[in-house]
Symmetry: C2
Subunit: 214 residues, 2 copies
């Protein structure tokens, strides 16, 4: 099994970040450990000190991303608020995370089925727990929904958010917090109606926390 | 350039359908013409009578899918109705098409950037025209929206719909027309509120038009 070392080690973080970019570019199956060695400047034997295989790299990228996004949401939930406010925080956290780590997110979306065995089960378990967090909020907002409708609504929300890697242009489209406010508004109130007024100031810099730094 | 033969030829339709399944399974870059030859039982020289390259196959899958889905919507729009009714038809057409051709749709989503040059431009042009059709309806529904908000709303809607290849289980989840009604409701009115009552009859068979037959 893959081991439990956390990517606080800078070299490991470099390996995972670089690998994510290569997987996003070429696809996981086409990429090789040799590509990662070349791009990081770390020798093959150096790489194998950190990871046992290409599959372990994919596992660690996925595990780290889903753990981080879920832990962030749990911390935000602990601040309290109405279910709608909590949902709005979940959407903003998810989108900020996604926009900041587009490469990693593309890998999560496209290589969801590339893992096998225990690694796949562990990632699926993390995903399931994160999905249930969102579904629980929707159940609080609208307790009358059937399980089938809750399922549709939860994945409609994730689809809305996750699809952004296909169209969102950082710096040209809405800023992340505006995007989050608008998607939350569409999801809770429907598309028609007034959007929130936009901040006319362009190009303000937001903190962009990479998932590879705590 | 790729030529204009339409896949009314059964053998070509077989090649494209089989190739779509193989691309969806292995990824486009990992798949070979040889894989397609093996799976279809058509010799390599037979394949090269129909298509010039693996890239032409990918192009024809994408071109055929986007043309078909857009032509269907144009036909439905021509029946008239309010913008909301038209949107509801677009959503049902899109989801039915998607559910019926999950393999092809996965290829469209994941291999969007695998095409190059002229083929890529032509597919992007088809996509843009289909996207603008949806955006035009949203503009009719809510003329006050800014272009930025229309863009967010349009891609939020497509994200909601396209994400289904990650979670939808035909035969276990809602039937396509129920799914379409619920997604349209969420998009136009917001998630809270009553969903339409469901038909309790399970396992009714719906016509499942494959994109490879007219």
């Amino acid at each position: 099994m893959v081991d439990e070392r956390e990517p606080h080690d800078e070299k490991l973080a470099l390996i995972l970040r670089t690998a994510a970019a290569i997987f996003a570019e070429k696809g996981y199956h086409q990429a090789s450990i040799r590509d990662i060695s070349r791009a990081t400047g770390i020798s093959l034997s150096g790489l194998y000190y950190y990871v046992r295989s290409k599959e372990e790299i994919l596992f660690r990228i996925q595990e780290h991303a889903f753990s981080t996004v879920r832990e962030n949401v749990l911390r935000l939930m602990a601040e309290g608020g109405t279910p709608e406010e909590k949902l709005s925080k979940l959407v903003e956290n998810h989108l900020r995370f996604f926009v900041t780590n587009m490469q990693e997110m593309k890998v999560l979306s496209h290589e969801a089925t590339a893992l096998t065995g225990d690694a796949r089960r562990r990632v699926n378990d993390l995903k399931r727990r994160y999905t249930e967090l969102a579904m629980g909020l929707l159940r609080e907002i609208e307790p009358r929904k059937s399980p089938e409708d809750l399922r549709v609504a939860t994945f409609a929300l994730f689809g809305m958010m996750n699809w952004i890697y296909n169209w969102y242009r950082p710096g040209r489209d809405l800023q992340v917090e505006e995007l989050a406010a608008e998607m939350t508004r569409i999801f809770l109130k429907g598309f028609p109606g007034e959007s929130q007024p936009r901040d006319p100031v362009e190009g303000t810099t937001e903190p962009q926390p990479s998932i590879w730094r705590a």
